[in-house]
Symmetry: C2
Subunit: 334 residues, 2 copies
DNA sequence: GTGGTATGGGCAAACGGTTGCGCAAATTTT
DNA sequence: AAAATTTGCGCAACCGTTTGCCCATACCAC
């Protein structure tokens, strides 16, 4: 037999209706025990496997979750995907992947393809300069729920999982203050990112606790590229006050910043100290790792986001309620 | 309208047959220009989008490629995925993802789910201890072509893309020899991996060129875990001859090995020198990076493998011919 | 014997498209 | 002007499965 056996085949061989076979395979109580057994026996013998595409079509469900995120090769995201995939697989969902490469246009295109493929739901971490969310609103029309994680839009009528960077930043800056640093620079991300603003808030809180006042020239918004980081460093190092510690947006930024500092002849850990936000396992391999890292729980975020999405899909969730899960970040000292 | 418009809707509104609408949308020449325009206009107006699941079902094609690989969080694989995804997207294919976590059982399970989802084709990089390929042979029955990449089975009647580690290893060991090293240890992978055997061959070739003889006690098979690496290091460092250089299986292994060496009080670059195989961008962040790395072109491998798979799907490829693409690895000196 | 209720299973529609074939009208050919 | 061909479109089957509803037969109580 060239093509795989269908339910019809089984029906014909057993002189039954396809409906009976279908029910027998699903252990429907209306089908007598002996027919049920016969059907199942033959199904096994023929190595029958239901044609999922037919079922997807019929049930209007694909058991597929879409993921859109900026960059797979960033450790943070690949850890998040692991969390997503593991969780999805437990419920027999598959995972359809798309990278935006931090490009809003690509993000839009992928969102459309995902819709065309009729994914049951979508998990999204935004491209860093996405400010227009129309391509996600469009999905509501198709009844495709979206759960954002980590890089989330600044909206309340959405579902999301994110890490609150405030607490972690507060701890990180406090640590530096306790170690005697008084002029602490911060290489922050783009203003649009909530996470950037949270970092700022945490930074300010730490200063307030120590009765120091906030100096905006020490908090630089950068675009997170290598070039941007170097410019930020240049600004910080030429500040009228002498910066002795720097909070870098993440380990990649930290790495670039360290590089720049070295080029300027500074000694890491002596002239200048770094703390950062974890992109594990990167930091464990770095030549001059930050003295502390704010953990952002990528795996957990992926897992949580997927759980929420799955709940949304099984309808356990009231549609009009928006789920907001905020994990507290936590400082890990090396 | 709650549910998206269908072809039937359009037909009804225009008093046409669904077949006509379908053809009109596909610019079938048999449909008159004016009807064609009318249909397309209305389709635009209603924002008609074909229901892909219906098409998938009908055409027995899903425009989806499956990927099975060991671990997303390894930089090598996430780079490979990027290559795969980018290439697939160009042909409007989506990418379904599964991680085996280097576990053969999981690999099998995923292969089955992929089959159930009727992926059009599969890209696979094997779990490191997979020796039974029955779950991939099974796919042939369903007419799902498989292209292996990087971690490939030791078979000839398959399609694959891989990097030949021989040339790179030859270059790497030659470099060490030229630098005066005479006792060069090698932390190799599991014997089952072709890549391990290629490394051995390259190593032997280099020695032969320099008229040195091969000492099997310097070539240790390890399981690539941190623990395995430490054991391998222990063996190498206790060799009766003094090992002054080590070829590590990859950057992760190199990292662990360096760690161990440091613990033993050795000075990297002085007492002992490392070369490795690239898991970029890891090495650029390492505290004691290897002096040279064998590049394995993950993005390119992913790209090539996908191109082959796509050709297989469009039938441009003779079915009975097996495509074997072998990229030569190349040494990159820091 | 009549009516009622399980019990076991079949019929057919529906999901949303695609496509081979047929059929009329319009156009060209001879 | 009849025949042949082209043009334009509709009919209906089909892809594999699920499911609402209907229909026998059997069994029960009265």
């Amino acid at each position: 037999m060239a093509n795989p056996p269908t339910i019809k085949e089984i029906a014909k061989r057993l002189n039954l209706a396809t409906s009976t076979v279908s029910r027998a395979l699903h252990n429907h109580p209306r089908i007598g025990l002996r027919t049920r057994m016969q059907v199942q026996a033959l199904a096994r013998e023929l190595q029958y496997e239901p044609n999922r595409t037919a079922i997807f079509f019929q049930q209007k469900k694909t058991f597929t979750l879409g993921i859109i995120l900026p960059e797979l090769s960033e450790a943070f995201f690949s850890a998040a995907i692991s969390g997503i995939e593991d969780t999805a697989n437990k419920s027999d969902y598959m995972v359809l992947l798309g990278q935006s490469h931090d490009d809003t246009e690509r993000e839009k295109k992928i969102a459309h393809i995902m819709k065309d493929h009729r994914v049951d739901g979508l998990l999204v971490s935004l491209a860093k300069n996405t400010v227009d969310y129309s391509h996600f609103e469009m999905l509501q029309k198709y009844n495709i729920p979206v759960v954002f994680f980590d890089r989330i839009p600044d909206l309340t009528d959405i579902h999301y999982v994110a890490c609150n960077m405030e607490s972690g930043t507060l701890q990180a800056v406090s640590l530096l203050l306790e170690k005697g640093h008084r002029v602490i620079g911060m290489i922050n991300g783009p203003e649009e990112l909530i996470a950037s603003r949270q970092r700022t808030t945490g930074y300010q809180q730490a200063l307030r606790k120590h009765r120091l006042k906030y100096d905006a020239t020490l908090n630089i918004n950068s675009d997170l590229t290598g070039k941007g980081t170097r410019e930020a460093m240049k600004q910080l190092l030429s500040n009228k006050r002498k910066v002795t510690a720097i909070v870098a947006f993440n380990d990649y930024v930290s790495q670039d910043a360290v590089q720049y500092a070295l080029e300027q002849g500074l000694q890491i850990g002596k002239d200048i100290t770094f703390v950062s936000y974890a992109n594990l396992p990167l930091s464990s391999y770095m030549a001059f790792p930050p003295i502390a890292s704010v953990e952002q729980y990528p795996y957990l975020q992926g897992q949580k986001a997927t759980e929420i999405l799955l709940e949304l899909l099984t309808g356990k969730q009231a549609k009009n309620e928006f789920r907001h899960v905020v994990l507290d970040s936590r400082l890990v000292i090396r």
